[in-house]
């Protein structure tokens, strides 16, 4: 039974393409700024207040790897990408319950567990579209600038970012089965992912805040480490994956038990 997966996948194509297009546009602006950035990297790194440097995790900004890992990825992927996945997942269940679509869906011989899992599985669409899109944009941007980037490191950055995006989706999904208004669930999911990203960045400032940083998903995905130092934090990605599965399990258990 994959009818729901098929239907939900179709629904996600439009917003995925739209966001990919937006990413393309922002990438153009960011890459256009790189030559100037590289020349003045030292000045930039010094001029930025440590708060902002910490937010993005600047390092080796004058190299293309440092620029992509420390500037482009944190902004486009960790912040916007994470927020998008949280937002989409937050609408998956509560929207259907609210519009009574869920009544019709559940009049079919399909379990509630299957409904949740098929809807989550439909997130393959934005995962594939956004990843493919951004890889293309980065390769194109790097080529136009006459630079080069290790394609394996770039591929690993995308691969290891998937668990991070899934955790953001898991947060949205739990909100989607708990709250009873679609707008509330989506706004809360957006806000929560943003605040978690903020906490991760700001906690660099004070070692006393280090423990709280461990609670933020972006702490377990570091594009600069992958691109600049070729450090692949597989264990961190594993932690994110397990967290995602736990969030999906929690959402499923809640959804199966509740009245709709």
């Amino acid at each position: 039974m994959t009818a729901i997966l098929r239907n939900e996948s179709g629904k996600l194509i439009r917003s995925s393409l739209l966001l990919t297009g937006l990413f393309g546009l922002i990438s153009v602006f960011l890459f256009a700024a790189f030559p100037g950035f590289a020349d003045q990297a030292e000045v930039v790194e010094e001029a930025f207040p440590p708060v902002l440097a910490g937010l993005f995790g600047f390092e080796e900004l004058h190299t293309i790897e440092g620029f992509v890992g420390g500037y482009l990825f944190p902004l486009l992927w960790i912040l916007f990408g994470g927020m998008y996945f949280a937002y989409v997942a937050a609408g998956l269940i509560v929207g259907d319950v609210r519009t009574r679509k869920m009544d019709l869906t559940l009049s079919n011989p399909v379990s509630r567990e299957s409904v949740v899992l098929q809807k989550v599985a439909a997130l393959w669409v934005p995962l594939v579209v956004l990843n493919a899109g951004l890889i293309l944009f980065v390769l194109a941007g790097v080529t136009v600038l006459g630079e080069s980037i290790d394609p394996i490191a770039l591929g690993m950055t995308h691969l290891l970012s998937v668990p991070y995006l899934l955790v953001c989706a898991g947060i949205g999904l739990v909100l989607s089965v708990v709250l009873d208004r679609e707008e509330t669930a989506q706004a809360t999911a957006l806000g929560l992912v943003f605040v978690l990203w903020l906490i991760d960045g700001l906690s660099h400032l004070d070692p006393a805040l280090e423990w709280i940083r461990d609670l933020t998903p972006s702490r377990y995905f570091d594009p600069t480490a992958i691109l600049v130092h070729e450090e692949y934090a597989l264990a961190d990605a594993g932690i994110l994956l397990v967290t995602f599965l736990a969030l999906v399990a929690v959402a499923t258990v809640i959804f199966v038990r509740r009245d709709i």
Partner: protein, 319 residues
């Protein structure tokens, strides 16, 4: 074995009992009407039967599956059709694609045949549909997998009279072919026209189970009469009128007698205009079943006894 067996089913929301110890059976091959005013608890019962909400106490069986057993209930749903009161379709999809979607989950062997009777504009997106077209698409999806049991919540709402007749005729044919139909309605005449047996619900409680013959004798019409001159209330009133209201030369009442008698009676007055329409169901129920009527459990199960229980109430509760 009954197709639907409802046993002491109760659903509470805080202090409010949306369904209060409801007990009755729906037998195979009948059109069962679930009649009650808006807000009486009809939709609650239906959503309990489909496992969308969980009972506070009591239970029910649908095609032998206990509604508290999620796995069993999911399994029998391939043999159940459902037409909800609010049709939540995927608005951007066309009617055809929505039917394709449902067909993938439960089949559509009767789709073409149904589309000859009920014709929603299949190639237009659902967001452009009128309420009648929505309802027709809902009817097609409810029957297209040829289910044994179809549960319909206010099936004719939004349909024009011609389509309503078509649906009623179709339901009778389905019943004759051995299908079981459970339909809820707040329209007395609809239930009288099409149902074999009727359960009446008020404020969450089942107040009567009637054979349709009994209910046919309990009809009522909302009547407005405009007279040429003001009339005295006492002079106008007959025993068959309830909730009589006289304002100058205009009289409003619910008439529980026969239409012929009423018309003959009205000829005796200088009538300028008359309107006769569907009654307020609640007025009719108050008249026939009293204010605090409930079916006792034993009679509710057998159904036949409930008829006599109902008759008793006419004598005690009749206004």
């Amino acid at each position: 074995m009954p197709v639907i067996r409802i046993d002491d089913l109760t659903k509470r929301y805080g202090d409010v009992a949306a369904n209060d110890h409801v007990t009755f059976d729906v037998e195979a091959g009948e059109i069962f009407g679930y009649l009650g005013p808006n807000g009486a608890g009809k939709t609650t019962t239906i959503r309990l039967l489909l496992g969308l909400i969980k009972p506070t106490s009591g239970t029910a069986e649908v095609l032998g599956a206990d509604i508290r057993d999620r796995r069993a209930l999911t399994e029998v749903k391939s043999d159940v059709g459902y037409l909800p009161d609010t049709l939540g379709f995927e608005e951007r999809l066309t009617g055809r694609r929505v039917l394709d979607h449902f067909a993938r989950m439960r089949g559509d062997e009767r789709r073409e045949e149904l589309l000859e009777l009920f014709r929603p504009p299949l190639d237009k997106p659902i967001e452009t549909y009128s309420s009648g077209n929505r309802r027709m698409l809902g009817i097609v999806q409810a029957f297209m997998h040829d289910p044994q049991l179809v549960i319909m919540d206010e099936p004719t709402s939004g349909l024009d009279p011609l389509k309503q007749d078509r649906l009623h005729l179709f339901l009778e044919k389905e019943r004759d072919a051995g299908k079981t139909i459970f339909l809820s309605s707040h329209v007395l005449s609809e239930v009288q026209r099409v149902c074999d047996r009727v359960g009446i619900i008020r404020d969450g409680e089942l107040v009567a189970l009637e054979e349709i013959e009994t209910l046919l004798g309990r009809s009522g019409k909302r009547v407005w009469v405009h007279l040429a001159e003001p009339v005295d209330e006492e002079r106008f009133r007959t025993d068959e009128m309830i909730d009589l209201e006289v304002t100058d030369a205009t009289v409003q009442f619910t008439y529980t007698g026969e239409a012929k008698t009423l018309l003959e009676y009205l000829v005796g007055f200088d009538v300028v205009d008359v309107e006769i329409g569907e009654p307020q169901l609640d007025d009719i129920f108050k008249h026939y079943y009293g204010d605090d009527a409930t079916v006792d459990e034993e009679s509710a199960v057998t159904g036949k006894d409930a008829v006599s229980t109902g008759e008793d109430r006419v004598r005690t509760g009749g206004g």
